[in-house]
């Protein structure tokens, strides 16, 4: 799957692979030892956040689960 930042796709895939393994083998099993993906995540984020700014995607400041607040 491609990233919204064309230059970020490889970094995204590297991070995704790390995350998917950690998620199934550690997180879901309650293993709270450290997250091995921090570094690849940060590299990927630097790239994708820059792409978001360049493309002026209006995601900044949008509250987490924002619209869910006024739903029953």
């Amino acid at each position: 799957m491609n990233s919204v930042g064309e230059a970020c796709t490889d970094l995204k895939r590297e991070y995704d692979q790390c995350f998917n393994r950690w998620f199934a083998e550690k997180f879901l099993k309650g293993d709270r030892s450290g997250d091995p993906c921090t570094e690849t995540f940060q590299k990927y984020q630097r790239c994708v956040q820059r792409a978001i700014k360049e493309k002026e995607i209006p995601i900044d400041g949008v509250e987490f689960m924002g619209p869910n607040k006024d739903k029953p």
């Binding site: 491609n2 990927y44 984020q45 995607i57 987490f64």
Partner: protein
């Protein structure tokens, strides 16, 4: 006026598999309308829940009659935010998804809750709700009808895509993992209560537009 939709589905896979597949469902043969996917925020809370925000870009193909609402040169693709919380202790995944742009034309919000089925072992139940509204003066009803029809057809693709990702994870050929327990009586009741005796023309049932 908002159109409300709700249905329940049983997925014949354990919750752990469903949640793992949730992260890996793009791309799939049914998701050609999803152009990009990015995780833009992620955090494990002190109580061991996983918070994630994904940003998706999707195509936005419209029927001809709706194209007039797009000024020439306006970007067609839609940016969508999907926020989610995985709670591995209580075994629930809650997602909230909505579009960031083109909101005057149509706003679609969707909430999904994935939990272990109460009745069946090794089965996950999904409760899906949506709220669809349009702010276009004089055309909000046909636009909302279109939006609801497109939402329903996209949900079929979404479930097929999840099924596909699940079968990849489990190393099997895609099988019927889904059993629909559609309960949309509440949706019908709400529509009846909210429908106006309006003279607005509703276009004939649209093709599959994504």
């Amino acid at each position: 006026m908002v159109k409300y939709f709700c249905n329940n589905t049983d997925i014949r896979s354990a919750w752990d598999h469903v949640v793992s597949a949730f992260w890996q469902r793009y791309p799939n043969p049914f998701s050609t309308h999803v152009l990009t996917e990015d995780v833009v925020y992620r955090e494990v809370t002190v109580d061991h829940r996983l918070l994630t925000r994904r940003l998706l870009k999707k195509t936005n193909r419209l029927p001809r009659w709706a194209e007039r609402f797009f000024p020439a040169g306006m970007s067609r693709s839609v940016y969508i935010v999907e926020d989610s919380i995985v709670d591995p202790v209580n075994r629930s995944l809650t997602t909230y998804t909505w579009n960031l742009n083109h909101t005057t034309l149509m706003s679609v919000e969707e909430r999904c809750i994935f939990q272990d089925s109460v009745e069946q072992p090794a089965t996950t139940q999904l409760k899906r709700e949506a709220w669809i509204s349009s702010g276009v003066y004089g055309f909000s009803r046909p636009i909302q009808e279109f939006g609801l029809a497109r939402f329903k057809s996209n949900q079929v693709k979404s479930m097929k895509g999840l099924e596909y990702a699940l079968s990849n994870l489990q190393g099997e050929a895609p099988q019927r993992l889904l059993r629909d327990t559609v309960k949309d009586a509440s949706e019908k009741a709400r529509e009846a209560a909210k429908s106006l005796a309006s003279a607005a023309t509703v276009p004939k049932k649209p093709q599959q537009y994504v």
